[in-house]
Structures are given as C-alpha cells and as structure tokens.
C-alpha cells in the first residue's frame, strides 16, 4: 500500500499555494512533480561529479560515465529489457518515435507499405509517421476508437494485413485514460509479420512494464512523466533491429572511426546517442526509478485505481458532467477526462486553477480523437503516487462549485 501523505513530504512543490489555496496537482499525465531525491541527484551530480562522458580518462569523466550507465541499467531493469545496450537515451518519447521513423522507417519502408496507428494517438505518434508517409509514399491506417473510448479490436484484426509493416500504438491513452489490450494488439501485429512500437509514455509511469514478455520491437517513454527530470526519454529496441538501423543523428560519441570520407559507427547504444548527452538528467532519472521501484509498481497501480474509482463515483453523481473513457476500471488508468455541459474545457481549467486545482484542459494533443468523439476537448484530472483521497474530494467540491457558477444544465449541484 502507498502512504501518499508520507510520500508528499518528499515533494517540496506540493507545499505551494496557488491563488491562496493549497495546490492540488492533478496534471500528472502532462508531467509529474519531482521528489527531493531526484532534485538531490541532479544537484549532487553538478556539485560533485560533473564531467563529459565516454571520452575523458580523468576521474570525474569516469564517475559521470558510470552514473549514466547505472541509470541505463536501472531503466533496463525497470522495463525488463534483456540488456542495458537496448536502452537508448533520447530527449523524450517524441524524439524516440522520430528516431524510429528516421532510422528504421526511412531505411526499411517503401511505397505501398502500410503503417497502422490508432485514432487515440497523441500527435507525437501521428505526425512523425505522416512526415514519413509523405516522403516515402507509405500509407497510414488507423484502428478506430469506439464511443466508450476503447479500441475496436475486431477492426484492428481486419486492418492488420501483410502490407502492414509497423503497428505503432499507445499502451494507455493520455486523453481518456484507456488502457489498451497491449498483448492482443502485439499478437495481431506479430501474426502479420509487422514490427511494433508501443508508446509507453502513459503506461510505464503507472503500471508494470515488461518488454521481454510483451516482445515488442520498440518502446518509448519520457522520464518527466515518472518523477524524473524533463529533457530525458527512452527508446528501447530489440537489439538485432537496432543493430540493423542506420544512425539517427550524426556527430561525436556515435562514431567508431571518422575519416574525411567516411565513418564507422559506434556500438549500441552509443550509435544513437550523438553528441554530449543529457548527462545530469539521465543520472537524476535513475533516482526517480529508484523511488518508483521502492514503492513498487503494483502498489502504484493500486493507489491510482483507488483514487480513480473515488473520482469516477463523485463525477457520476453530478448531472451534466460527461466522463470519457471506459467504465471498467481494469481498462482504465489514473485519468478522469470530463466536461461540464455548456462550458468550454478552458473555462473549467481556469475556474479549477482559481481553487488551486491544476488540471489540463483542451484537446490533449489528440485532435483526431476528439473529432471522432465529437467533442472539442475535455478537462482532465490525472493522478499519481502523491495524490490523496482528500484531494479527490476537493476535486469533487470544485467540480460542483464550477458547475454551479457557470449555471445552466449542471446547476443542480448538490
């Protein structure tokens, strides 16, 4: 079990007040707050170990290199990757997807090939493929989203054909909270001989992740959504596949030998880590993974389920408040995406902010999804390890107050 009240003591920012009210931070799907352990790791690195990696022979360079490689090992263990070398550090999940689109897609795909995505993808898992499609004449397909916010797996089975070279999908929807049937989708793709990319940005921070069990070809995620710093993300890839790919960015660190005519490339993972990497944030990310590992991902999931169930109950008691995504908690992450009838999501977001409650409002970088659901967007509360049931009650109070303030349909506030 998670003791959120005790955990909160590790997060200095949670003592903040916003508009005179205690901060209730419920925008965790956008980015999470950082515990003092992560902040301390960042400070400790700059105060005691700062040097460039992989090239110095001096003590600090050796220490910095060790610290980054320790973090890589922690990432590999966290997602059960077979080898640390299969973990590439990038800036974020978005860069990881772009890396695959460039280094794998441009080399391996040609006109007539198909990439299958879903209608619930974040723009970051749509736009890189649109750019590739334009360049290579590759076709994009989309697994439809059903009105309940789940993917239509029957359609998925029909849409995956021998022409499908890649299935790239989100494990968990940032906009709706839907947890997708990752293993079923991967099995469908594999049966058709397609490569697979799992966008784990909203899954890895919240649920146990096992790439060896999933047997996916690629997994991408960002550190900042899981207590880590901004500016550091991960691409996991199967070793043979990463080996077969061309480099993404060229420069220092990613080479083996350079002459004026040609270069040979470094081994994994450095082949994909051109230039001085984000050393300090990679190190601090290791502290975030330690923190989550200490809590245990099963406990993290159980805590989020408790909060989500409580929130869904409160929201269902309020008239004129549509809540999106599956009703079944087993298919749902710690996200409650909602609207108040007659009010725009941004007005909800501002009204909540004035009560100290931070929620996201808008299309959540999923415009195609909202077009499908025939809404302009939503307000979204998303939970993490430091949120409490008291905060969920406060969310409910502010929901009722906001609905009453803007009046009209939802004014029947209790």
């Amino acid at each position: 079990m998670i003791d959120a009240k005790k955990i909160r003591e590790d997060f200095p920012i949670l003592r903040r007040r916003v508009h005179g009210k205690p901060l209730v931070y419920l925008d965790n799907a956008a980015t999470t707050q950082k515990p003092r352990q992560v902040i301390a790791a960042l400070t400790d690195f700059y105060e005691n170990h700062n040097a460039n990696v992989h090239r110095g022979v001096h003590t600090l360079s050796d220490e910095a290199t060790q610290l980054v490689e320790d973090s890589r090992k922690k990432v590999a263990a966290f997602i059960n990757a077979p080898k640390p070398e299969t973990v590439i550090f990038t800036r974020n999940a978005t860069e990881s997807i772009n890396l695959v689109a460039h280094a794998w897609g441009r080399k391996s795909l040609s006109a007539g090939d198909e990439i299958l995505l879903t209608e619930m993808e974040h723009h970051s898992n749509i736009v890189p493929w649109q750019l590739l499609a334009e360049e290579k004449g590759v076709k994009l397909g989309f697994i439809p989203v059903r009105p309940d916010g789940t993917l239509d797996l029957e359609q998925a089975a029909r849409l995956i054909t021998p022409k499908t070279k890649l299935l790239a999908f989100t494990a968990a929807s940032n906009a709706l909270g839907t947890l997708n049937a990752v293993e079923k989708l991967l099995a469908l793709a594999k049966a058709a001989g397609a490569k697979t990319l799992v966008d784990g940005a909203q899954w890895v921070p919240h649920l146990k992740t096992d790439v060896t069990r999933w047997d996916c070809d690629f997994l991408v995620f960002s550190a900042h959504k899981m207590l880590g710093p901004t500016g550091i993300g991960v691409l996991y890839g199967k070793e043979a596949l990463l080996e077969s790919m061309d480099p993404f960015l060229g420069g220092g660190d990613m080479i083996s030998q350079v002459s004026l005519e040609r270069s040979t490339y470094n081994v994994l993972p450095y082949k994909f880590e051109a230039g001085t990497p984000n050393i300090a944030d990679a190190v601090a990310f290791g502290a975030a993974l330690d923190y989550l590992s200490r809590l245990g991902m099963d406990a993290v999931r159980a805590h989020e389920l408790e909060l989500t169930a409580a929130a869904l109950k409160i929201f269902s008691e309020q008239e004129g408040v549509p809540v999106y995504g599956p009703k079944d908690l087993a298919q749902r992450g710690g996200v409650v995406s909602f609207n108040i009838d007659g009010i725009h999501a941004h007005d909800i977001g501002t009204a909540f902010d004035l009560e100290g409650v931070a929620v996201r409002a808008g299309h959540h970088c999923c415009q195609p999804l909202w077009a499908k659901l025939k809404a302009a967007g939503s307000a979204r509360a998303s939970f993490y390890v430091y949120n409490t049931l008291e905060e969920v009650s406060e969310l409910g109070r502010v929901l009722r107050k906001t609905a009453a303030f803007f009046g009209k349909p939802a004014a029947a506030a209790r």
């Binding site: 009010i343 999501a345 004035l354 299309h363 909202w370 302009a376």
Partner: protein, 154 residues
C-alpha cells in the same frame, strides 16, 4: 476567498450574459469579408462574416466553438464595431489589442469599446489573453485581405 473574487473578476456577469445570449452568432450570406481564425493552443476556431454598406461595417456574425472568454469577446466585438467605418474598425481592433496586451489602460479605450472593458480582467491570465483576442485578430486579417469575391456590389 481570494479565488472566488478572482473567478468573479474574470468571468464577470456581463461576459456570461454575452456568452449565453447567442447574439451575433451565425453566418452572413452574402458576405463582403470572410475570415477564419484558429487558436492552436486550444484548437478553438472562429469563422467571421462581415457585411459592409457605404464604407461602414454593417453586420458581423461569428461561428465556431470556444470558451466563455472567446465567445463573449466575439459577440462584444461584433456589437462594438457595427457602424464603424472600415478604417475606424481597424483602429478599434488595434486599441482593443493594446489594452489586452497591457500597452494601454482600460480607461483609455475609445468610447465605442466601452462595453469591452469587461474583458480587462482577462489580462491577469496570460494564457487566456489569446482567447479574448482571437476574433479581433481574425477580423483584422480578414479586413486586410481583398473583399470576398462572392460579396454583393457596393
């Protein structure tokens, strides 16, 4: 409570009234000017149609969806600019934008824009200023282009 007064200061009753009234919503056909604006931050869209008679703004209608601030601002803009000559309408848009960007005080606004002062509270919310200026920027872009080919003869 601090938050309460801020909520009321931002969402003044007059804004909520404009938002709910539906005044100036719709599309003019034919129209002399036609403009489409997008706020990429929230995805909100506004479509404006304008009829001009004798060199003056005769009617403005807006459609699209948006927040209380953008919808109220659109309605107030239409109400305030109808009757203004085209050069004056452009001046008024400039005056409104200056106020919203805190380059000028609400008290310094031209008399035609008196009602629009209710939007001054939005200036404290930097992320929402674009909601208030979307329709005005869209109108300015529309007026600076050639009149719509489909428009009536003047």
């Amino acid at each position: 409570m601090e938050g309460d007064s801020e909520l009321q200061d931002l969402y003044r009753e007059v804004l909520l009234d404009y938002f709910r009234s539906g005044a100036h919503k719709g599309k003019l056909d034919p129209a002399d000017y036609h403009a489409h604006g997008l706020n990429p931050v929230c995805g909100d869209e506004v479509e404006l149609t304008v009829q001009v008679k004798d060199g003056k703004v005769f009617a403005i209608r807006f459609s699209g969806h948006g927040c209380v601030i953008s919808q109220a601002s659109s309605a107030m803009m239409a109400e305030s600019l109808e009757g203004a000559t085209l050069p004056r309408a452009k001046q008024l848009v400039g005056a409104f934008k200056d106020m919203m960007l805190s380059k000028s005080a609400p008290e310094a606004m031209p008399p035609e824009l008196e009602a629009v002062n209710a939007l001054a509270g939005v200036r404290k919310f930097a992320l929402r200023v674009k909601c208030a200026t979307l329709a005005w920027n869209t109108l300015l872009q529309g007026l600076e282009r050639q009149p719509a080919a489909s428009g009536p003869e003047k």
